[in-house]
Symmetry: C2
Subunit: 96 residues, 2 copies
């Protein structure tokens, strides 16, 4: 009745990040930070976790002279995100 929710996605910030990445080709650290309102530290940690799970990939480069970190969702990540959304719906609709 209540499917287990992927703990990696059941986190406010990681979910927000995945939600953004699910809709765009790629997004960089600063963009994610602005959109989510997260602190750099928190964002950095959560990006690491998503990367470790192969839900996203991170590429580090430079924009001019400033470092730039670009994130992209992977197929695994897309799949996990969709699955999470489906699971969650069972929780939300159970009350109806």
């Amino acid at each position: 009745m209540f499917p287990k929710l992927d703990p990696l996605l059941h986190s406010e910030l990681r979910l927000a990040v995945m939600s953004i990445l699910a809709g765009v080709d790629e997004a960089d650290f600063t963009y994610l930070k602005k959109q989510t309102g997260a602190t750099s530290g928190n964002l950095s940690v959560q990006i690491d976790k998503l990367t470790a799970a192969d839900y996203i990939t991170v590429e580090k480069g430079f924009k001019g002279k400033m470092p730039r970190t670009t994130c992209k969702i992977t197929p695994t990540g897309q799949e996990a995100f969709s699955h999470y959304v489906e699971s969650l719906k069972e929780y939300l609709s159970a009350g109806k």
Copy 2:
């Protein structure tokens, strides 16, 4: 863009409990335990938290000779649950 999610509801077990209670008049401990698959200890703790927030009320009585704990959602709880569902939708649909 990404509203803050009520931390009390953004928890797998508490969400499941609230989801059940949102749909019925009342439910007792054992029923909640069966439906959610939670351990007694975990369920007990989470019920306490929901009670402390006045999201649910708990009534203790007896069914025959055995103790029985009955839970009911409060208007505050209903409201918080609805609000959570609405907030969450913004996360889930952002990727579209």
